[in-house]
Structures are given as C-alpha cells and as structure tokens.
Point group: C3
Chain length 275, copies 3
Amino acid sequence: MDPEAFLDLANQVIKLKMYPYFDVAHSLLCALAVREDLGAGAQSFSRKHPLSCWLSTMLVIFAGGMVANGLLGEPILAPLKNTPQLLIGTVTWYLVFYTPFDVGYKVAKFLPVKVVASAMKEIYRAKKVYDGVTHAAKLYPNAYVIMIIVGTLKGNGAGFTKLLERLIRGAWTPTAMETMQPSFYTKASLVASIIFVLDKKTDLISAPHALVYFGIVIFFVYFKLSSILLGIHDPFVPFENLFCALFMGGIWDSLAKLLGKGQPKEETKDAKKTN
Amino acid sequence: MDPEAFLDLANQVIKLKMYPYFDVAHSLLCALAVREDLGAGAQSFSRKHPLSCWLSTMLVIFAGGMVANGLLGEPILAPLKNTPQLLIGTVTWYLVFYTPFDVGYKVAKFLPVKVVASAMKEIYRAKKVYDGVTHAAKLYPNAYVIMIIVGTLKGNGAGFTKLLERLIRGAWTPTAMETMQPSFYTKASLVASIIFVLDKKTDLISAPHALVYFGIVIFFVYFKLSSILLGIHDPFVPFENLFCALFMGGIWDSLAKLLGKGQPKEETKDAKKTN
Amino acid sequence: MDPEAFLDLANQVIKLKMYPYFDVAHSLLCALAVREDLGAGAQSFSRKHPLSCWLSTMLVIFAGGMVANGLLGEPILAPLKNTPQLLIGTVTWYLVFYTPFDVGYKVAKFLPVKVVASAMKEIYRAKKVYDGVTHAAKLYPNAYVIMIIVGTLKGNGAGFTKLLERLIRGAWTPTAMETMQPSFYTKASLVASIIFVLDKKTDLISAPHALVYFGIVIFFVYFKLSSILLGIHDPFVPFENLFCALFMGGIWDSLAKLLGKGQPKEETKDAKKTN
C-alpha cells in the first residue's frame, strides 16, 4: 500500500465523526451487554423493572464519561446533556428489550450486524481513550498516571461501573471487580493510553500522530474481530506472565522455593485458599 | 372558591419560608424513619453507636442536596454549611433517640403530630423538587433528562441513599435499591419534575406558574395524608400497569404467547427465578 | 525545659517538611497495612493480582486527600498529580510485596523501623488534619462541622475507604464500617480537628498556635508509641463511656429500668440480637 495513501487514510480516521452511526453501534452493544448480563431472566426482568433496566443501560452507555468526570471533579451527569446521544441510547435500549417477537434483539445478535457494530465500537473506543488522555493532560500537564487512568476509564468505563450497574438492578457481585480480573478491553485501553501519553509528552515515538492513532484503531478492531470470529480472547496473557515472572516475584519465588526458604508450605496453603 | 383568592393563596404558598418550621418537620420525620428502619434494636443501637446513628440521620436529612450536588459536580458536604439546619437536625435526632422515657419518640409518633409534620414535609418536598429542576436548568438549559433526574433526587434523595445510610450503620441490603421498587415518593417527585420542566421549558402548560406549583403541593399533601389516614399507598400503580402493557411489551408478549412463540416456557421459568 | 526553647521547637515542628522522609514512612506503613489486611494469602494474592494490589495500596496512601476532595467537589484524582509522592508510594509498595526472600517486608516489620516510621506517620497525620481544617475553613468559613469532618477524614482517610479498598481486592466486608467501630486514629483526628477549629475560630484557646499544634503532635506520637510498645489501644474509652452515660441515654435508661418502665424486656431482647 502506498505510504502516502495510508497516511491520508489515517488522517481521515482521526477526523471521523462519531455521531450518529458510531453512537448507535456503541449503544446497541451496550444494551446487548446488559441483556446478556441479565441472563435467562432478561425478558421478565425488563417487563417488571423497566426503570431499573433503562437506568442501568444508560449507565453502561455513558459509563466512561461519567466515571472520568466523577474522578476529575466534573459533573457526573454532564454526559447526559447530549440529548441526541441520550435519545439514540433510549431507542436502541427499547429496540433490544421491547420489540414485538424480540425482533430487535435477534437482529442485533445476527452475526454480521454484531461484527460491524463491534468494529465501529472499537473505533469509538480508540477515540474515547484519546479524548480522555487529552482532557486529563489539559488539566494536569505533568501527571502521567492521571492521564493513563482517565484514558483507561474512558476506554472501558462500563467494566468499572459493572458493580454499580448490577446494583441498580438489585444484584450485588463484589467479586466481579474489574481490578481483580481486568478484561481485554481494560488492558488494551491501558496500553493505548500509555502509547498516547508517550506520543504526546515524550519524543520516544517518532511516527506522526495520525499514524499512532490509526495503529491503535487497527489494533483494537483487529483483536475485537479475532475475539468474535476466531475466539482469541486475550493476546496480552503471555506478556503478562513474562512481566510477572520478571518483576512481580515469579523468579525469586521459584528460587526461594528451590532453596527451601520463602515459606513454601504457607504459600501452597494460600494458593488453595484463593483459588 | 373564588379563583382570585385561590391564585393569591398559590402565590403565598410559593413564597413560603421553609426555615425553621418546615425544617423541623422534615428532620423529625427523617429521624423517625431512621429509627423505624433500625427496627426493634433501635434503642440499644443508638446507645452503642451514637456516631453512626447521628451520621446516618444527617445523611437522610440532607440526602437530596448531597446526592444532587454529587452528581452535578458540586461539593457533597455543602448542604452541611447551613449551620441552623444542622442544629435543628441534631436536636430532633437527639429528641427522637435519647429523651428520658422515650418521650420525644412517643410525641413524634403521636398521630396528630405525625400528620401535621408529614403535610409540612410534603410542602417542603415540592419546593425541593422545584429548586432542583431550576438549579439543573440553570446549569444545563437544554438537558431535560438532567433536570428531571435532579428534581427527582432532590425530592426523594433519602430513597436513593438508603443503601449508603444502612451501610453507615453496618447493614448492607443490596436488594433494597430504590430503582428496583421505586417508592411513591420517587414516582411523585418524578412526575412533579416532569411537570415543572414542561411548565418551565415548553408552552404545553398554560396555567400560571404559581397554580402549577400549588397543584403539585396539593397533590403531594393529599396523597401523603391518604397514605397515613386511609392506607392508600400508590395511586400510580394502575397507570404504570397500563403504560407497561402498552409500551413495555405487555401486549406483544401476550400476543406472542398466544401464537406459541416468544419462548413461553423460558419465561415461566424466569418468572419463578426472579420472584 | 526552657519554655522559650520549647516554643522554638514547636515552631520548628510546624515548619517541618514532609517530603520525602515522612512520605516514605507513611507509604511504608500503608503498604504494610494492606499486606496485613490480606492476611496469610498476601503473597500469593500479590502475585496473582498485582494491579489490584497496587491500586488498593495507592488508595490507602492517598485516601485522606481523595475522600476530602470527593466531598468538597474537587477532583478525586488530584492527589495523584504529585508524581514524586506517587513514585515513593510505588517503590515502597514494590519493596513490601515483591523483594526477593521478602527482605523488604521483614525490614519494614522490624520493630525499631516500625517505631520510627509510626512516629513519623503520626507527625504527618497531625499536619494532614491541620491542612484539612484550614482548607475547609477557607471554603466554608462558618461551617464548623464541615471543617471537623474534613479534618477527621484527612487524618484517617484510610479507615473510611477500607470498604472500597477491600472491594478493589474483591472482598466485601460491609460490617467493617469505620462509623460503627471508630478506631483510635479516627477519634484522635476528630479531637484534633475540634481543637484546631477552636484554636482558629474562637478565643477559647489562648496558647500560641505553634504550641497547640505541637501538643497535638505529641499526643498523636505518644499514644501511637504506647499502642505499639505497651499495648494501650484506646485511651478515649473511659471518656466515651462517661459521655454516653450522661448524654446518650445511659443514666435515663438505668432509671427507666429501675422504675420498671422503658420496655426493659424489649431492650434485653434487642441487646442479645445486636451482640
């Protein structure tokens, strides 16, 4: 592919308008996620508790913005002032839950629809991560950790509000904390945030900004599609294992065990407990 | 009744000062609600955990303002800067929990006292809903949903902080979420917020503002008194059922069942699970 | 001791710089507290969930500032913008959890190290309480209760975020609310906040400000060391019992029991339930 045409494409991706098509795709997948999370009881739940169902779906749709605002001292409700987006969210929620003969849900679950919507959602996610990093960088120009946290939260806010979202639906699952078992989206958003911060604040990345952004979009879309179509769920696992072995005590623990120190017995006991 | 005199009365109601009598009534009923919520163990709990008891009562008294502030990016503690109101709250809390021979509690539970305080509290609630809507409208002039949410939260904040309030007292009841079983107060505040928004932002309501406000006050007081004296608890239920049947899938579900589609078996199973 | 030399010393204590040594002591004890809280499974937990472990340690280290910011409408993440402090926190966390053969943890647990760090942390705590009171007084010059709340939260923020901190680690312990069984640190911070408010806002305390501050530092350090070395855990208990007997119904309840009134039976039943 011609490098210039590639850069042109990258520049177009960076200027892509999110409203309305990407908002629709995002809302659709969020409403689907809520419905899947409700499991077999979804239909009867949506009939009995429409308010709770609507509130939790809105929370999922606007999670990133709300969490980031809450942590940055800005109004948590502010994302809801975008009335067209709220309307799109409400309409897709209605379609997924209440259409006659469940037509809306079945269409949304139809593989080609889901694949296209997922790809669009990942493009949206890349934009949100970037916006989060930029916004935090404006507020705290030297606080890299804040930029990374805000970028990650914007990228996968719904993961971090899962507990609250379920609580709105009357379910409490304290062990489902995102921090305990970060999903692929959280890890990907974290990596993307770090790359954006490096790109913005240091000279380590010499590629033009549009290319960096485009690369992250491709990375997000590629792994999302692999996950749907090929069932590859977390390409980060080997890197994590390596990192943990090197820095999080893995090697030392093995050494200590070999040398008969480091409370090997206690550890085996612990491992059983926590498993 | 003379319409002009009626309008005059409405104009007076709108200018009614809340401090101090309405604050006393509100605080008294909040402290009573905390005590009822503690159940049979209230007395011994208040002796063993006075700090927790005071904090949770203050949370109930100032819930509306605190929740609304939290969601609008304003200081959550700000409502506590009103020292006279805080003093009233503390004194009523003390009277309800710690007077010798439980005199305070018994007086507060005495029906005529309770009826008058309840009526005053409803007048206060109408004012809080209106203030909430106005405040949100100032911040986000076009975000109707934010106005409605803030109005509702100001009207029945204590319902939404119930989980936190109980947590302060060491009890955790995740299934008691207001969103799952909205109380009459929440529904009434929601309807009042919608009416205030329509009155403020559209031309749909042609009556003078004072009359609209007065109408809502009468509606709140009337149903509160019916609830205490006649035991009518939720006049919204028939409207809700109608709305759900029309828009939330009720009719379509029945149709689908008749036609033998729409997974009737699964639904019966679900209904058992969620009941 | 020469009073002038004493005042000089007090003036020096008030100007003491917290960075970096006091930050190190504070972070070290926070990381230790997280490790102790994890119990026997700490080592294997830190290997399996490093992210969750890091996040909860950072939450403990920055708890006071974050909670106070959250309640005062300021950015919750703001304390993290202090990059050197964040680095110190991360390094001490790493040392406590991941050093080969657990050297870091063993050194930190070594009594002389712990005693020195604890004394430094108490000096830090006194400064944080004072800063909290001052900050709240700037925002709300007449709201004494807000000053006291913010001072207390800054002094023992980790106590109040314990539930959230454990939740980040996937554990949910709703009965461990600080408000139910306030620790000595909370009570001491509360008393210190009240003294600072009296010193700042009234003429009741005639001693120079530096002396008041120094007195509180000595009080904090003295009781911390008694607690570590002598096992005295809560010197407030007798005062609390007296206060409760006088004002929180103790005497009246006894009187009521003697007179055969005040539902003695119900109370005994309650006491059994709540015990």
